[in-house]
Symmetry: C2
Subunit: 262 residues, 2 copies
């Protein structure tokens, strides 16, 4: 099976399960991880488990890494075939129902670079798919980044994250926060980055995002024409052990970098 | 006709029109108002015009004020019967399709206090309704604010607004931004405030919101148990010519005020 076909099939197969769990979210088992608003649910665990089983069946020799439960180990070597899953990105939104922005993210990575990617937003049934050099699509429609040129007219999606990393974010990104035309924060990396791809926002910023949170969305955004770097302007690589993520429509990238590094 | 019945009827009657326009938003006529991201569309104008006509027919002696096109005049006296409409709150989101958070807001105000209120979110068909002393409801379900007690576990919806007022917001709200458990910004006041009512977020903050943006949502939130004040702690009144708005679940209100006023 082609990797992109496997991704799409997995995401579609779990659509109803996620919707059902969201509809009855008051019955969910929820635990905190690193802090009170860093949440883990049975849905995260079940989806990751299902993915591991599906990948073992179709691609038995491939490695799987993911956000939850012992799979969150970034490989020291970038060689070989790796699957990266974030079972629910935006778990906090999922649990609270806050304008529910959450998505399921799966990337197939070869030698350190994503080759096939899928992000699914179950509530509005948006299926973002991309393969290297083949473009990015949402429900079959080809995606293209926005043409906004001026930073004071740009809409920046800024992830404020949990309270522990907040001071560092505010310090580093204060000029971005002050000078962007609009600021949004949905608290869901995959949605923020996919909205750069679809041209609905112009840039996405996170001060410290693990690779399973952007592996799929980065490819989708780049295939739609986005520019993706670290906060110091170096290329955004999955396994470089660096932190921040800046993904924009390209036109505002230089300005955003200069505001982050003066 | 009862005022709440009139409100619900108006909102329902325009549901299809708004959905149709959103589906074809690339065809919209869009203009800028005070700055490049402060947008006005034909939908704002049409909805407001339709509301003025409907109100004139059912309540011919009542006054109507609203966000657009000459109706944005705050009465000097708070006596008498006033209707307040924000035809599309979140026009920027509507135009760009950015995780589209927008709503239509109608309040009936008597002697300076909202007595009946409706907020409609067309995309997910959420109808928030409230009357004084009768509780708040969303699609018939009674609403109640969250029970979150600690500020570092609270989700604050902060409206970063346009770039012109951003510095003042960041200065005033910096400690809120740094210390809240989670920060969200959807760029839609009525949705933010209604989510305080539904318990999906714990607080809403805006540094300068005109009264048609919160007249309906404030009543909905208060009827769900929320506390609503100005940023200095004074009661939130529609026609006091003050600016900032803080609406919370009550439990975190004192902490939020102290972070805004130290």
């Amino acid at each position: 099976m082609r990797e992109i076909t496997f991704i799409e099939k997995f995401l579609k197969a779990n659509h109803k399960y996620v919707l059902d769990k969201f509809s009855n979210k008051e019955l969910l088992t929820v635990a905190s991880k690193t802090h009170a608003t860093d949440l883990l649910t049975e849905v995260d665990l079940t989806l990751q488990k299902r993915f591991v089983e599906a990948a073992e069946e179709s691609f038995p020799t491939d490695r799987v890494i993911g956000e939850e439960s012992g799979l969150d180990v970034i490989p020291e070597e970038s060689d070989g075939r790796v699957w990266m899953i974030d079972p629910i990105d935006g778990t906090y939104n999922f649990v609270r129902g806050a304008n529910p922005a959450f998505g399921i993210s799966v990337a197939f990575v070869q030698d350190g670079f994503a080759q096939a990617a899928g992000v699914h937003m179950p509530l509005n049934n948006l299926m973002f798919l991309a393969e290297t050099d083949k473009g990015a699509f949402c429900n079959g429609r080809r995606l293209c980044v926005s043409t906004v040129q001026r930073f004071d007219e740009a809409c920046m999606e800024i992830d404020f994250g949990g309270v522990k990393a907040r001071r560092a974010l505010v310090k580093r990104a204060l000029d971005i926060i002050k000078k962007a035309g609009q600021v949004r924060c949905q608290g869901c990396a995959v949605m923020g980055i996919c909205q750069v791809a679809s041209g609905d926002v112009d840039g996405y910023l996170h001060i410290g995002l693990p690779p399973w949170d952007f592996a799929a969305a980065q490819l989708i955004a780049e295939e739609a024409g986005a520019v993706a770097t670290r906060l110091d302007g170096r290329p955004l690589r999955l396994f470089d052990e660096k932190q921040g993520v800046l993904i924009t429509n390209g036109a505002i990238h230089k300005t955003a970098l200069s505001l982050l590094n003066h």
